[in-house]
């Protein structure tokens, strides 16, 4: 049940990116898609009744290994989240340049005013 809901969040973002005319709304839709993908990766690595992969002083090898959740997708998603921030900064810089050049955020108007 949670997997299809996560994909539905991604598809809501995809629908927004396909139909919206304002550049900022398109950027918001792309960000929603990124959130959904990160969630899906962490969902795959979850173990029912698990504990976080942090070792504390009461660590026993035999009781920790079968209970901890997967640390691998968490590491990958950590880098993906920070990369999405850098990409968002680049997208906003591009859209600010477009606004400065054409005076509008509407992509249908920008398509009409060439050069």
């Amino acid at each position: 049940m949670v997997y299809p809901l996560c994909v539905l969040l991604f598809l809501v973002g995809l629908y927004g990116a396909m139909t919206q005319k304002n550049l900022i709304k398109i950027i918001i839709s792309v960000t929603i898609m990124e959130y959904a993908v990160n969630l899906l990766l962490i969902l795959i690595g979850y173990r029912a009744g698990g504990i976080a992969p942090i070792i504390d002083r009461t660590y026993e090898g035999a009781t920790f290994t079968p209970v901890s959740v997967d640390p691998f997708p968490q590491a990958m998603v950590l880098t993906a989240i920070v990369i999405s921030l850098g990409v968002l900064a680049l997208l906003i810089a591009i859209s600010l340049r477009l606004y400065h050049r054409y005076g509008t955020y509407d992509i249908t108007e920008i398509r009409r005013l060439r050069g």
Partner: protein, 183 residues
């Protein structure tokens, strides 16, 4: 636990739909913040504290950047006509994709029973068993990021560096006399 996750997902989907359809840009950005906040709580419920900390801090900076680009410059509302044919086609495409993904997710491991339960020599089992003794770090996610998979972290640092330099290069000062912009 599963019902709590389902409720959280429903909240995020409603906030995402609001973010896309509202006409006021400030409301759209705040709804995006609600989606990110729900995502961070979901990460906490899924036993990923590292990712939850990073998600909430990055989402706050994300909101600051977005508001600086729009509301700060006096642009408040979205205007323009609706393209109903495009919306209908996109809606049909989204429904078809959803049906196909539900069929495809039958092949996934069930929620709560990850791949490393079935395969004994998966890398994740290796990292959990030998993480503390081989790297000496108690935070296994940090050990995976900076010892076992450090090459991916190097690639990530490069991508972030390049993206920020690209953003800075795009926003250089324009010369006042109207000649070639000082590039």
């Amino acid at each position: 636990m599963s019902t709590l996750l389902v409720l959280l997902f429903v909240f995020m989907i409603i906030a995402a739909i609001v973010a896309i359809h509202t006409n006021d840009l400030l409301s759209a950005v705040i709804s995006l913040g609600a989606v990110g906040f729900g995502s961070s709580v979901a990460f906490l419920l899924l036993r990923a504290p590292d990712v939850a900390i990073t998600q909430i801090v990055v989402e706050v900076l994300c909101l600051v950047l977005l508001i600086r680009a729009t509301v700060w410059r006096g642009i408040r509302t979205v205007s323009g006509s609706r393209d109903t044919f495009g919306m209908a086609v996109s809606g049909v495409l989204v429904v078809i994709l959803l049906i196909f993904t539900i069929i495809a997710f039958e092949q996934f491991p069930t929620f709560g029973d990850p791949v490393m339960n079935r395969i004994a020599d998966a890398p994740a089992n290796d990292y959990i068993r030998n993480g503390l003794s081989e790297t000496g770090a108690a935070n296994l996610v940090g050990a995976v990021l900076l010892d076992f998979r450090a090459y991916d972290t190097l690639g990530e640092a490069t991508v972030l560096f390049t993206a920020i330099i690209g953003a800075l290069a795009l926003l250089r000062r324009k010369s006042r006399s109207g000649e070639q912009p000082k590039e």
